[in-house]
């Protein structure tokens, strides 16, 4: 079996981590800028042109500030929590192909053929820290679900009821939303036949993007991802207005808080990559990726650009949704996960399995997926009788009016 070059792997690690860290730093600026634009403001513009040096200044501030550990906290877990958050966020990106990728070859019947395809594969380019990992997505979900430990440790060690509330909410939320997250992927895996992200990209390049075949799965995955990354409208663990910052209340604005925030933004980048790769075809774009040939620098750059545009579109969506949808109430959050998303994800998975078993054409799957979504809407319509909000009955309202009119004039 061919060996992978340690030096190129090291370069890839440095490159990807530097890219992620740089993007994360500028994502914070982008978040502030988008927030300002949505609110008709200009946003940070004092540090450098258009505020472009703001992340550097912020980073410098984080490093230079005094690192206060409150006397009432559990010191070990208090220090451990940011490390856990940050390292799991970085570990998760290890299997994500950040650029053009080559799927690992299938098993061969003879050893010579095996050797040949493996040698060809070892010479092909895959821009991932760990290319060709067959349990790719499984590893990714395993590592990113560890991130909840960072949140829980932070909340528990802070010895503060708001932090604890935030972290408890967070654990319930992340555990609930991991179920539809995993189930939404199920349909994709059945068709792609692999957990490997390069393989999933390659399948979509040959057959078309999964978002067209399984739009409902994409929708469920997108929603669950918002919950997993603690972004609005599911940012209950932090909920500045209710929990004064939630689990990171007790962290002074030092590098520990910085790590926590960086971890969150790193999750955003990872999940944006996942959305682009699993459902939007990764670096493929209806043949556009082959305009500059299959190999060589122009092709690589073009594919990087295609994937980059998709990823940044999702990042922008993350930022925009924050200022569009208000936060869910906790019971709404839970009922959305357990009463809507999990049954829908299960049904969708069932539909995919049936379509695959009967070998129906792909457009049937698209139609069934949309129909399932519409059906869910109809069920919601019937079940809620047109309105879900608790309210006074019209009779009670009129009675109230009568009693008002009886009041002495």
């Amino acid at each position: 079996m061919p060996e992978f070059d340690a030096l190129s792997t090291a370069m890839m690690i440095v490159g990807v981590i530097a890219f992620v860290m740089g993007t994360v730093a500028y994502l914070i600026l982008a978040e502030r800028k988008v927030a300002a634009w949505v609110q008709d403001r200009i946003g940070p513009n004092r540090v450098g042109p258009w505020g472009l040096l703001q992340p550097i200044a912020d980073g410098g501030k984080m490093f230079l500030k005094e690192d206060v550990i409150p006397s009432h906290v559990d010191r070990i877990f208090f220090v451990l929590a940011p490390i856990v958050s940050f390292s799991t966020a970085l570990l998760a990106i290890a299997v994500v192909p950040v650029g053009p990728s080559t799927p690992p070859p299938a098993p061969q019947s003879t050893f010579a053929e095996y050797e040949a395809v493996q040698t060809a594969y070892a010479q092909s380019l895959t821009f991932a820290i760990q290319p060709g990992l067959d349990i790719g997505l499984l590893y990714l979900f395993a590592v990113s679900s560890l991130a909840v430990y960072g949140v829980i440790l932070a909340g528990w060690s802070a010895n503060n009821k708001y932090s604890l509330l935030g972290s408890l909410r967070s654990s319930a939320q992340i555990i609930s939303y991991e179920i539809p997250l995993g189930m939404a992927i199920g349909g994709v895996l059945i068709y792609a036949g692999s957990l490997n992200l390069e393989q999933i990209t390659a399948w979509q390049r040959n057959h078309g993007w999964f978002v067209f075949f399984q739009p409902l799965a994409f929708l469920l995955f997108l929603t669950a991802v918002f919950a997993e990354t603690n972004r609005l409208p599911f940012d209950l663990p932090e909920a500045e207005q209710e929990l004064v910052g939630g689990y990171h209340t007790e962290y002074s604005s030092s590098m520990k808080l910085g790590l926590m925030l960086l971890a969150e933004y790193a999750h955003m980048i990872t999940t944006s990559f996942l959305l682009a790769i699993i459902f939007w075809g990764g670096w493929s774009c209806f043949g556009l990726e082959s305009v500059a040939g299959e190999t060589g620098l122009p092709a690589i750059l073009l594919r990087f650009a295609i994937l980059g545009i998709k990823v940044f579109a999702f990042v922008f969506l993350f930022l925009l949704v924050r200022w569009t949808i208000p936060r869910f109430r906790f019971d709404q959050l839970m009922s959305l996960a357990w009463k809507v998303m999990i049954p829908l994800a299960l049904l969708h998975f069932l539909v995919v399995v049936v379509v695959r078993y009967l070998e129906l054409p792909m457009y049937a799957l698209s139609a069934l997926s949309v129909l399932l979504f519409l059906g869910a809407g109809c069920v919601g319509l019937v079940a809620s009788n047109g309105n879900q909000m608790p309210r006074r009955s019209p009779q009670a309202a009129r009675l109230g009016a009568k009693s008002l009119s009886l009041m002495p004039q």
Binding site: W37, R41, L320, T324, A376, L381, M389, P394, L404
Partner: protein
């Protein structure tokens, strides 16, 4: 007044249809709103470079007006000092010089403690001769407390400066009665 039935408008909440139950159209609608705001004109005023346009009746730093002859208009009647709820005006009156035929007194000193002042504008309302006014100067700063105690010369220099800059307040314009000033009380007296 108690509420009567006519004052109350009972509104039925709109029923959620299929599209609303699907959430997607509503979310798309919201996203288009936020996206639209991104391209709207920004309301930010970039302060140090871009000064705000204040209304002429803004209540900022005081000034003491001069009359046409360049003398202080104040007649040291103590009306402003009496009206002042913060007691920040300190006047020492003196007999007017004999060549000033129109008044008996003039302020020998006229000191306003800008730190005590609450910028309520009572002084300019109380003044019978429109001698004291609040200007649109808002960026009043000082390095110590003494700097913030404005004497007569400083208050007159505020008048000179605002007149030069053309940022006269509503009540008077460079010593003359302005469009917002009330007519002198003698005109309205029942004859």
């Amino acid at each position: 007044m108690p509420l009567s039935n006519q004052d109350i408008l009972w509104i039925e909440e709109p029923k959620l249809g299929l599209l609303e139950q699907l959430y997607i159209p509503a979310i798309a609608d919201g996203l288009s709103t936020t996206l639209g705001h991104i391209f709207k004109k920004k309301v930010t005023e970039q302060y140090p470079e871009q000064e705000p346009k204040l209304p002429a009746n803004y209540r900022g730093v005081h000034r003491l007006n001069r009359d046409e002859a360049g003398r202080v208009k104040c007649v040291a009647c103590y009306m402003c000092a009496t009206a002042c709820p913060a007691h920040c005006i300190d006047i020492v009156a003196a007999p007017a010089p004999p060549e000033w035929k129109d008044r008996e007194k003039y302020p020998e000193t006229f000191v306003i403690d800008e730190l005590r002042c609450i910028y309520c504008g009572m002084c300019e309302e109380a003044c019978p001769v429109d001698a004291i006014e609040l200007t649109t100067l808002y960026d009043l700063t000082g390095l110590n407390r003494e700097e913030m105690i404005f004497d007569k010369e400083k208050l007159l220099s505020v008048f000179d400066m605002t007149t030069r800059m053309g940022t006269d307040p509503v009540r008077t314009q460079a010593g003359r009665l302005g469009p917002a000033s009330e007519t002198p009380p003698t005109a309205n007296l029942p004859s």
